[in-house]
């Protein structure tokens, strides 16, 4: 099936080559980081995790979000999603690969990486995160590939494949729950130590993942003969709407508890993020941009006429993506470190090489995604799943 990735239109090749250019820029910056150390980033002893880990956290959500098309199909026998489960699974593969790369570039001593396996430490949540992420990657590769191969041959996929598909559903929940536990079990970081963290992560994942998937579906429909289907898009839009409402609701719950209780430690990170603390307010414009996009997303998605209109639906999904990305891919991780354990505000500003490495990893994800989608769509076109 892989050979289908090697035949494509000039547009396909142009896209792959431009992604490769960004990827090579990232490789150069990474080599610089490898020889100089992480000092080429904006991180410090106070903000010891930065954009890398924040992107990782966000992308775990994108990966987990793919399950929102797999679950209705396998558990509720919602046949319509059968058409696009493969796209959800392939999106998950690309997202998990990005997650693993973001962890990799964040490691100070990558040559010792295997120590995580040589000295397994079940008390460390990072150990479990490694297991669930790699497991999820393989589950999606195996299930996605076999389902697609069966579709190409026009036969039903094997029973064991279906079994693994069922396994992948709770597994998707686990990757984001475990990732939330990285944060939610740490004493002394008050923004993170909240029981609702895993729920918040899942809600934002189930909004952002399907929102990206919906945008990709529309793109696929535009540039290929494969139509993901009207009903599919409508159901997906409904899922995004519910998840986004929950996501915003959960954020408001955090704000209520922090400010009504009046406990200073619970407030200070939120104050830093949304209003600035001790004269430091670097993230404030970002956070209010996030608020703006979250509100816009809610308006565009909740009003039925706007949700059903494709143009406003696209705007809604883009708003979900940007709003949740700032909230989780910037604010949550960096805000957790501010103020520091001495209640001092030390700010963080990513450096140019750090940003290039991030962009390159996103480009790598889209490179993988483009190839996987190309294979899937070529097969769908061949077997004639072209019209609704």
């Amino acid at each position: 099936m892989l050979e289908r990735a090697l035949k494509g239109s000039p547009g396909y090749w142009k896209l792959l080559i431009s992604l490769l250019v960004v990827m090579s820029a990232g490789v150069i910056c990474y080599l610089m980081q490898f020889s100089e150390g992480l000092k080429i980033t904006g991180m410090s002893r106070d903000i010891s995790w930065g954009l890398y880990i924040a992107q990782f956290t966000y992308l775990v959500g994108i990966a987990a979000g793919g399950v929102m098309v797999v679950l209705p199909y396998y558990i509720h026998d919602y046949k319509a999603f059968g058409r696009i489960t493969i796209l959800g699974e392939f999106l998950a593969i690309a997202a998990v690969i990005m997650c693993l790369l973001f962890i990799f570039v964040d490691i100070g001593n990558p040559v010792r990486m295997l120590n995580v396996i040589l000295y397994p430490s079940p008390r460390s949540i990072l150990f479990w995160d490694m297991i669930v992420l790699n497991g999820y990657l393989f589950l999606n590769i195996i299930v996605g590939w076999n389902v697609l191969a069966a579709e190409r041959k026009g036969v039903q996929y094997k029973k064991w494949v279906k079994f693994l598909a069922y396994v992948s559903i709770p597994w998707a929940f686990s990757i984001h729950t475990v990732t939330a536990f990285l944060y939610a079990g740490i004493p002394g970081r008050h923004l993170w130590i909240t029981a609702i963290m895993a729920a918040r992560f899942l809600a934002s994942a189930f909004a952002a993942g399907p929102a990206l998937l919906l945008l990709l579906c529309l793109l696929v429909r535009k540039i290929s003969n494969f139509d993901p289907g009207k009903e599919q898009l409508k159901t997906l839009a409904g899922i995004i709407t519910y998840a986004m409402i929950l996501n915003c609701f959960f954020l408001l719950l955090e704000i209520f508890t922090a400010f009504y209780s009046g406990i200073p430690e619970h407030q200070s990170s939120l104050v830093y993020l949304y209003a600035g603390l001790d004269g430091h307010a670097r993230l404030v414009p970002w956070m209010w941009t996030s608020v703006f996009f979250c509100i816009a997303a809610l308006v565009l998605l909740i009003i039925p006429a706007l949700r059903r209109n494709e143009t406003t639906l696209v705007l809604g999904c883009v708003s979900v993506f940007i709003g949740t990305w700032i909230d989780k891919g910037v604010g949550l991780v960096i805000g957790g470190f501010i103020p520091n354990p001495f209640h001092k505000v030390i700010e963080y500003m990513p450096t140019v090489p750090e940003i290039i490495i991030c962009l390159a990893i996103w480009a790598t994800g889209f490179f993988v995604l483009t190839i996987l989608f190309k294979i899937a769509i070529s097969i769908k076109e061949e077997v004639g799943v072209t019209s609704h």
């Binding site: 100089e36 964040d106 100070g108 460390s124 354990p341």
Partner: protein, 221 residues
């Protein structure tokens, strides 16, 4: 460890005493990065009272206390979150209570830095041997202690290399050498030890005791 803050502050009144910090950082080849707080490395250092005890702070606190430099270092917690989160068991608590760090196993994920509620851990953002020469003219200062490679976390080890040969930690020794005796080191489990007697005789506080990590550094007020 017990830190008698009244003795320490009294000595600091006389002049900017930095004996314990200098002794530690020279003993362990901890490089000085000067004003560059982004790459700063420190095992034992000073912070003002309001920052070392952020939750104890109040607006009417005596001005003289508020700005007073208190000594901060790894608390060698009985229930250390840093050790719990480490994915390679590079940091662990010894049976005698010292929280150790294996500089050869650490992968540099910095989960321990996120987990430590005391900001006690430093990361080698670059190669410590490349620290500015003008600030570190005689680096490495102790040929008998390893320098680190880039990309690993380090922190106070209560001088395990000295404890092993029957010596006391370098900071405590430095404080004794100038006859201030503000730093005391001993076995908290031994009811007859000097530090247990000190804790019996004076009022003491610990940093962020409410988090349940059971810090083992006590401050006598």
């Amino acid at each position: 460890m017990v830190i008698d803050m009244s003795k320490c502050l009294e000595q600091q009144e006389k002049g900017k005493c930095k004996q314990c910090m200098d002794a530690c950082h020279r003993e362990h080849n901890v490089p000085n990065f000067g004003e560059n707080i982004k790459e700063e490395m420190k095992w034992i250092w000073q912070e003002s009272y309001e920052h070392v005890f952020p939750s104890q702070h109040n607006e009417f606190i005596a001005e003289e206390v508020k700005e007073k430099p208190f000594i901060a270092l790894c608390n060698h917690c009985e229930n250390p979150p840093c050790c719990r989160v480490c994915p390679t068991q590079s940091t662990w608590r010894r049976e005698d209570g010292v929280v150790m760090m294996d500089l050869h196993r650490c992968i540099g994920c910095r989960f321990c830095m996120a987990a430590c509620p005391f900001g006690s851990r430093s990361f080698n953002w670059g190669d410590p041997r490349k620290a500015p020469k003008e600030l570190n003219p005689d680096f490495p200062t102790n040929m008998n202690y390893p320098t680190r490679s880039k990309g690993v976390v380090e922190k106070c080890n209560f001088c395990d290399e000295r404890l092993g040969v029957g010596k006391i930690p370098a900071c405590v020794e430095a404080c004794q050498n100038i006859k201030v005796h503000a730093l005391h080191f001993g076995d908290l489990n031994d009811p007859g030890s000097e530090i247990r007697k000190l804790l019996q005789s004076r009022y003491s506080v610990r940093r962020k005791a409410e988090l349940g990590t059971e810090p083992k550094v006590y401050y006598l007020i």
